[in-house]
Symmetry: C2
Subunit: 395 residues, 2 copies
């Protein structure tokens, strides 16, 4: 290569060299990278969760007021699903926007297939699911959703990947749970479970991709699909879970992705009540209601399952509580910053990152000592997503 | 940079350029990389599990006749623990041996702490555990093991990481299970559980790092430590597990790392019998004994937990069987090559890689169709390790 350049004249050398150097980043692994959504400015920060530092900012991602992120199989790219229906493919190594497609008018998130080849976007306007090639973002298929009462395709919620290049999601306007087999992504096959509960508003898949649970806005209880036993259909569990007959004011519907399915337990944010519910994840019987200081939003287990972290709806969103699982009690209350919107654990849980929207900062907390290790500036940060998600089912 | 080079004379340009380009690899993610042990030649192959291709070979790693691998937190480096007591740090991006230390005379594997900062090596000769800085491989501490009957420090087996920069392992010669807290890695703290079963020969930690199980060579049954309930000490489970009162010839003691703790179940290779045992992973009661065609060695669940793959001791080591978990029955028998020594799933289980030592090849199988996707040449391959392990507990 050096020989080739020496033969070239000086005039030819400069652009050749610039091109080479432009493509030359110091090699680094991508297993400890992450993306932080800066919701007000349409940007993301790329962070390193080993050194707890920011590596740079990528701009021009559009409306990120409700954004979610999945990662490419090699953990080099983050796919950011924006509220405005755009999918932005961000190169974490070069810190630049690689590609961007606007694929719907209003979208609520996405997933990536178990082999990393197919992206799925769940859309509100128009309703339905669309599939894309993960490398090129070229469209592969558009999967219509059953219509709601207004005759329009239903809004889609709770989209998650399942093993074997499948996806699962719920239809808010059509009371349905669908499993989409994208083995042939140009001609995906749909399996529909009707009467799957009134107004499912969010969902999550278990870590092994066996179960899908949907939270219901229109009735109490949860819907459960056991994908190993499809002949059983969708059944209702935790009949007492929901807003109840005399609903309390709900400041923010909890996020189901935050549910902790850890070890033998499921931890659920009670809706409207100042409680975290503990259920047995085999029988789905409720084992305990753990008092917390406000309405929980995210309830997330450390990777060890030993502790569960909880953030809260307004007016308690400046606090975070930590629950000890064996004793089922709150062992710490932290006040890390104003408007704590999200939490993300490092791969094996030695630290947790918190986004403080109204203090424009990220707070990195040591999970052993519960001490703040570092704070980093960020613009109205919301979601934090680390690249370990690339290798996990249902993330 | 281009300007700087233009100002320099041509003579100065060439070495400057060579230095620059030498450090310049095309950027790539490390989430889909892996390492294959080539046991006879002291080398490893670096592979890409998305494209199912070899990226190169790194040589000079010494005696790899019993080698294991862990990954750096950023998934850039593989640490190869060789039988000769060496730790080799391999740069997967530059495909070169970064550092190597010979830290014992005879070693059987290692682990990396939950924060990625500390390596632990489990040694046979001399017995005990040594800790190293994961970046520099500088020694941090030497932890002696209790002596066996001969007065020498016990051989150490089953080493695994636990959350909170801790490690757990068993002492073959001293009938003990130890938990090592390396919060201060220069002065680690040891908690000893004595009378932990006769001659523990291997062990494994559950995926959440709560449980440690040790297989016993000197008696039937298994030892279980619940690290959430240390006051309970070590208890015996699965009393019928072992060689039994009229032991059958055992061609190869099964590897406990291969045990599948998946969903509600644990799958165990029966010792000496042509069976895979299925146990409830809460009660540890045996639920079934599934007939297989030979003496199982590795019993590994797909990431979904839906199927379990089994390889076998001689003379059946040219076959692999696949068990369907819901029906608890063998659904396929494959004959992928001679001397299938190891199996490794891609991160979310769309494929499995098999090493065929005596056919000098790797076989990549689609887990959905069970068809061979590709074969790759390799020199007497044994262990296959993918970088998704970087973010998992107990790997």
């Amino acid at each position: 290569m050096a020989g080739l350049l020496v033969k070239a004249g000086r005039a030819a050398l400069i652009p050749a060299l610039a091109a080479l150097l432009g493509g030359c980043a110091a090699p680094r692994g991508t297993g400890d990278l992450g993306v932080v959504i800066e919701r007000a400015s349409g940007s993301v920060q790329v962070v390193d969760n080993t050194r707890a530092e920011s590596l740079g900012r990528v701009e021009g991602l559009g409306d990120l007021s409700h954004a979610s992120v999945v990662f490419s199989r090699d953990a080099r790219y983050a796919y950011v699903f924006g509220r405005d229906g755009a999918i932005s493919k961000v190169d974490l190594l070069r810190r630049r926007l690689e590609r961007r497609v606007v694929q719907a008018g209003n979208s609520i998130g996405g997933a990536i297939s178990s082999d990393g080849r197919v992206l799925a976007a769940q859309n509100y306007q128009p309703g339905g699911v669309r599939l894309f090639d993960a490398v090129t973002l070229a469209p592969l298929a558009s999967v219509p959703a059953a219509p709601g009462a207004d005759g329009k395709p239903s809004r889609v919620v709770g989209l998650a990947d399942l093993p074997g290049r499948r996806f699962v999601y719920a239809l808010f306007d059509a009371d349905e749970i669908d499993v989409l087999d994208a083995a042939d992504p140009a001609q995906p096959k749909l399996t529909r479970y009707r009467d799957a509960g009134k107004r499912p508003y969010d969902g999550l898949a278990s870590m092994d991709g066996r179960y899908f649970l949907a939270g219901l806005y229109g009735e109490d209880g949860l819907s459960l699909l056991d994908t190993w036993r499809p002949e059983q259909g969708v059944r209702r569990i935790l009949a007492g879970y929901g807003r109840g007959q005399q609903p309390l004011p709900v400041y923010k519907m909890p996020h189901l992705r935050g549910w902790a399915l850890a070890g033998d337990y499921a931890f659920l944010p009670a809706i409207g009540r100042h409680e975290v519910l503990l259920a047995d994840n085999r029988s789905w019987a409720q084992l305990a209601a753990i008092p917390v200081l406000g309405q929980p939003v995210f309830v997330m287990a450390e990777p060890s399952g030993r502790r569960v972290w909880v953030n809260f709806a307004f007016p308690d969103n400046d606090k975070v509580q930590v629950i000890d699982v064996p004793t089922r009690s709150v062992i710490a209350t932290l006040k890390p910053g104003k408007a704590i919107l999200h939490m993300e654990f490092t791969p094996r849980g030695d630290a947790v990152w918190l986004s403080s929207r109204d203090d424009d900062k990220l707070v990195v907390v040591d999970t052993a000592s519960l001490k703040v290790l570092r704070e980093l500036p960020a613009r109205s940060p919301s979601g934090i997503f680390f690249s370990w998600r690339a290798s996990r089912i249902g993330m």
